[in-house]
């Protein structure tokens, strides 16, 4: 079974405000707000870590869910975010992905 790699799209801007992740698309000025699961996936989307590993390490322990079901939900979510050009998806590591933290400390707000 192939693995899915995800990377943050570089044509968006993201800020975490009071725990809420907001993402602005530079393409069409659409503003998105991510829920907790989507925020974890977004922040972990470095292009090098496969989605199943993100789910296993960061989502299953936090939400106490079965890995298989959680991965299926995460894949659906990742494809939805990709459809909005927020994430890039690939079956291979995305080498050009930005390895910087998704939301630097300066983006953290009250």
């Amino acid at each position: 079974m192939s693995r899915l790699y995800i990377a943050r799209n570089t044509r968006v801007a993201a800020r975490k405000l009071d725990g809420e992740m907001m993402i602005m698309s530079g393409k069409d000025s659409t503003l998105f707000t991510l829920n907790k699961t989507a925020t974890i996936i977004w922040q972990a989307a470095d292009g090098a870590t496969p989605l199943d590993e993100i789910v296993e390490r960061q989502i299953c322990p936090k939400f106490e869910v079965e890995p298989a079901a959680a991965l299926q939900d995460a894949e659906t979510l990742a494809r939805e975010l990709a459809a909005q050009s927020i994430l890039d998806l690939s079956e291979d590591p995305i080498l050009s992905a930005n390895s910087q933290p998704a939301s630097p400390p300066a983006g953290e707000m009250r």
Partner: protein
């Protein structure tokens, strides 16, 4: 044939809004007079201009009111177009041209757009908001048409200085705070008027609060979550450019502003007592 050549007087004036001088060159004395009246209080004496526009006036013809404004950038040159004007501006040369008929509305629109572009580069913005200074602090009252910007401006007490009843001018300012780099925001008066049809005072003050206006049965101030504040701020910002980088800059500017300036919901009944809560 020197007899066939007559000199053309080049007239000019500098319109200084938000501390940014924009020089307008024209050969039409009546148009210049109209600008001097329209921007009274904002006509500067500065010889140095951030931007200089040559205005080319044409005879008014049919203007399609349905044509939206288009602001695009190509190879370092901005193109601003609407049914009633066409302008170009090259920031690197600090120069541009405006082609319009002799009316105050077209150049007013060009000035608003140019100011949004200049401000976006430095983290500032124009906002659909009334603003006023009280006790040396500026207060912004944001909202869409009908939210109460003109009403709250009209109710302002005599010790408040009105900056605008329609379009607020917000600049980011940096300073040294006991050896530590810090920044905040300053509101400037603008000549951009709403229903009140009264030019703002050409003064400025540090912004103390942004209120999101709502009319209701009582006067009250309620906190607003940062995410909601950013959404409301973005919804009320003037933004015209079809430019990806500028969109992202504007988003960051909204987030920065919300992290520095308290944002609240101001519900008010239309009488002067609402100002007892402000300042």
């Amino acid at each position: 044939m020197p007899g066939l050549i007559s000199p053309v007087d080049c007239l000019h004036l500098t319109i200084e809004i938000g501390g940014i001088p924009i020089r307008v060159n024209t050969t039409d004395a009546d148009f210049l007079d109209m600008l001097q009246n329209r921007y009274a209080g904002f006509v500067g004496s500065s010889e140095h201009a951030e931007v200089e526009f040559d205005v080319d006036l044409f005879t008014p013809g049919f203007v399609d009111p349905e044509v939206d404004v288009r602001v695009t950038q190509r190879a370092g040159k901005w193109s601003l177009e609407r049914g009633d004007f066409r302008a170009e501006w090259e920031p690197a040369r600090r120069a541009g041209t405006i082609r319009q008929s002799a009316n105050p509305y077209s150049i007013d629109a060009v000035l608003r757009i140019v100011h949004t572009l200049v401000l976006a580069q430095e983290g500032g913005f124009l906002l659909h908001a009334a603003s006023a200074i009280r006790n040396r602090k500026a207060f912004l009252f944001a909202g869409v048409s009908g939210a109460g910007k003109t009403t709250i401006s009209r109710l302002a007490p005599s010790d408040a200085t009105l900056l605008t009843d329609e379009i607020s001018y917000v600049r980011k300012c940096a300073w040294d705070n006991a050896g530590k780099h810090d920044h905040g925001y300053v509101a400037h008066g603008t000549p951009f008027t709403g229903e009140l049809a009264k030019l703002g005072e050409n003064v400025s003050a540090p912004i103390s609060a942004l209120y999101l206006l709502a009319q209701g049965p009582e006067n009250r101030i309620d906190p607003v979550a940062p995410g909601h504040a950013v959404r409301e701020l973005l919804a009320n910002m003037l933004f015209f450019a079809e430019d990806q980088e500028l969109v992202l800059r504007t988003f960051h500017a909204a987030c920065e502003f919300v992290s520095r300036v308290p944002v609240s919901r101001l519900t008010f009944v239309p009488d002067a007592r609402v100002w007892e809560m402000i300042g």
